[in-house]
């Protein structure tokens, strides 16, 4: 198991959210959340079920647009650009802000095609050889290459749960995004697979801005440098991970972390 991580002085703020509110129809799911995501630190979102972690995460790459009833207010920027501005191109935004879902969702295509999908639609590869290189590199980074290199043309759905999740991470990496959002990427995985993915997060850190939602506080402590604690759609506390876990400022955070909550 890994040691808790120490905060690196942020060099570059990648994304900012200011007073973000999300409504599902009448119901408000996010109540004015402001957060900064930087390149060099991993940000973890924790909080009880239904507090709005996933919802907030999905506002960061506008995946909430696909939910008919969802409505977002406030400003979110990526490199200073407002991502909800009409001039913002959603397709490009999503390519720049990749996402890994809680439940692994490989396409019912071959492993190779799963990875190649993104580079193909974005025209990142020039020719087959180039694509092969991208696929190999992405699978290597996702820690899956050795396990699947001999069966790249098997279906992605034929892999075990942990492998599927790594495939999805590889798929997200393949388009070289700038930010990676992960929604409970390890909840379906055993400790070994989890450890692999955590290792991967460490490796990716610094190259990508990473946001991870997790239920597992140990995991949050292990992989993140900043932690945001959500409760009932509010951002209760946001700060350096080690502070949050050892010295929470808010009573609610403390109660949650020590399990006295609910």
């Amino acid at each position: 198991m890994h040691e808790p991580q120490t905060l690196v002085p942020a060099t570059e703020t990648k994304m900012t959210a200011r007073d973000v509110k999300v409504f599902y129809g009448e119901k408000q799911a996010i109540k004015g959340v402001s957060i900064d995501v930087d390149m060099d630190n991993v940000t973890a979102f924790i909080g009880p079920s239904g507090c709005g972690k996933s919802t907030f995460l999905r506002t960061l790459n506008r995946m909430n647009d696909t939910v008919a009833s969802a409505r977002t207010e406030g400003t979110i920027t990526l490199d200073g650009e407002d991502i909800y501005a009409p001039s913002m191109d959603v397709v490009q935004l999503r390519a720049r802000v990749g996402m890994v879902f809680q439940k692994p969702n490989p396409f019912p295509k071959s492993i190779y095609e799963n990875i190649a999908y993104g580079p193909r639609i974005h025209g990142l590869a020039h020719g087959k050889a180039d694509l092969d290189v991208i696929v190999e590199k992405s699978l290597r980074r996702a820690g899956l290459w050795d396990e699947v290199k001999d069966r790249l043309h098997d279906s992605g759905t034929a892999l075990s749960g942990g492998q599927q999740q790594r495939l999805c991470i590889g798929r997200a990496i393949a388009v070289e995004p700038e930010v990676i959002l992960m929604d409970e990427p390890c909840s379906a995985l055993d400790p070994i697979a989890t450890a692999k993915i955590e290792e991967l997060i460490h490796e990716l850190r610094g190259r990508y801005a990473i946001v991870i939602v997790t239920h597992n506080m140990q995991q949050a402590a292990r992989v993140s440098q900043r932690t945001a604690f959500f409760h009932l759609g509010e951002l209760v506390e946001y700060g350096v991970t080690s502070d949050i876990f050892t010295n929470p400022k808010q009573e609610r955070t403390k109660d949650y972390i020590t399990g006295r909550y609910g």
Partner: protein
């Protein structure tokens, strides 16, 4: 492995162009979809409007008011002893012709429908005392006059209409007879009720057989059958039956239901059974797709608390698959409702002037009636054909409406 890639430059010109192209493709695709929907809908609208344009006139008829002086007419009837037979013997057609001539002029016999005398007969039957009075009776106009009054026809007919209009003898009313009568040979007197009832009975038989059997087959194949040669044979047979031309089902119905089982010819029962064989594969195929898309986790959940396989299916899988099954049922039944070819072989392409009383009585169905009328010599049948098509479409809409209501009711997301 090559050197680490530089992060993608999303702002580059090439990338911008590419995105613009992709958006253009996206718009084109969406427009293509919209175009497809609108085009299909436009076809339907065109067909419907054409039918309505031609057919609505079929629901009205032109009548000529004729003053009839019964005592003076050459009718040999005793008002106190009116029977069907005495009416039949009274040579009413001739009497009607003479009376009309007397009232409207020498060439007027051609103006009233050749079956106008049945109106007189019914009046006399309803009230024998009429025989001692003079009475103005609205007689249905002949096809020529009817057409001339509604649109345009031969100059002679137009002239006659003008004359009648001037005299104020012409009236147009809703042709209730069209909804209540059955097949006949005079377009002014025919009705759709017999064929409608035949279609109704036939569809009931079809639905009662094909729906349960189709659903049972789909359930068996998807849920219980082991994957072995028998299942393969069943699967292939069903897919193949969907591709068998309907006339062949007619041949099958002829040889099995009529020649082997000796069921009555021309009956809704046999028609329904034949069409059921044709409809069943459609329901099975759609049903299997629907059952397949019920998530396995639901089955596990039910099995896990001790539901038997039969309970799992009837309590959980079937209700969830029902919308898809109903889709299959809708298109299968729609096809059966419009089918004529197989019915030909089992004797339903026939002149049947009395509405069927039950599923074993001789009957015909709406599409056959439409087909027969479309081939009639008399021009008066043109609008009747269109009117019958409207009735068929209304039937279809009602049938679909019911199924769609059910489908929407059961459509659930999980």
């Amino acid at each position: 492995m090559t050197a680490t890639r530089t992060p993608t430059d999303w702002k580059s010109d090439a990338m911008r162009k590419r995105i613009a192209r992709r958006y253009a493709a996206e718009r084109r695709f969406k427009l293509a979809g919209l175009f497809a929907v609108l085009l299909s809908a436009a076809f339907l609208a065109f067909l419907l409007f054409t039918m309505l344009g031609n057919g609505l006139r079929g629901f009205t008829r032109t009548e000529i008011a004729v003053k009839i002086d019964f005592p003076a007419s050459p009718l040999l009837l005793d008002p106190n002893a009116i029977t069907d037979q005495s009416l039949a013997n009274a040579n009413l057609p001739m009497v009607t012709g003479e009376t009309v001539k007397k009232a409207l002029g020498a060439d007027a016999e051609e103006w009233v429908s050749s079956t106008a005398w049945t109106v007189l007969r019914d009046r006399i039957k309803a009230d024998p005392k009429i025989l001692s009075r003079t009475e103005t009776i609205a007689l249905p106009a002949s096809t020529a006059i009817d057409l001339a009054a509604k649109s345009n026809a031969s100059p002679e007919a137009e002239a006659a209409v003008d004359r009648l209009n001037k005299a104020g003898l012409l009236s147009t009313g809703i042709n209730w007879n069209f909804l209540s009568a059955s097949d006949g040979t005079d377009p002014t007197q025919v009705g759709i009720w017999g064929a409608f009832k035949g279609s109704l009975l036939t569809m009931l038989v079809t639905l009662a057989l094909s729906f349960p059997i189709g659903v049972a087959t789909a359930l068996y194949l998807e849920e219980y059958a082991r994957k072995n040669w028998l299942t393969d044979i069943i699967e292939v047979s069903i897919n193949n039956l969907a591709a068998v031309p309907s006339i062949i089902f007619g041949l099958l119905g002829l040889s099995i239901f009529l020649n082997f089982l000796h069921l009555p010819r021309s009956a809704a029962l046999v028609g329904g059974m034949t069409l059921a064989l044709m409809t069943m594969p459609v329901i099975v195929i759609a049903g299997r797709n629907a059952i397949k898309s019920v998530p396995p986790s639901i089955r596990d959940a039910a099995l896990g608390i001790g539901a038997s396989p039969v309970q799992v299916v009837f309590h959980h899988v079937l209700p969830l698959a029902l919308p898809g099954i109903l889709t299959g049922t809708i298109i299968g039944m729609a096809r059966a409702l419009g089918e004529t070819a197989p019915l030909l072989m089992i004797g339903m392409r026939a002149f049947i002037a009395t509405p069927p009383g039950g599923i074993t009585d001789p009957a015909t169905v709406l599409p056959v009636q439409i087909f027969l009328w479309s081939d009639e010599v008399s021009k008066g049948f043109v609008e009747k054909t269109s009117a019958a098509i409207i009735v068929l479409l209304v039937f279809l809409l009602a049938m679909n409406g019911l199924a769609i209501y059910l489908r929407n009711k059961f459509e659930k997301r999980w």
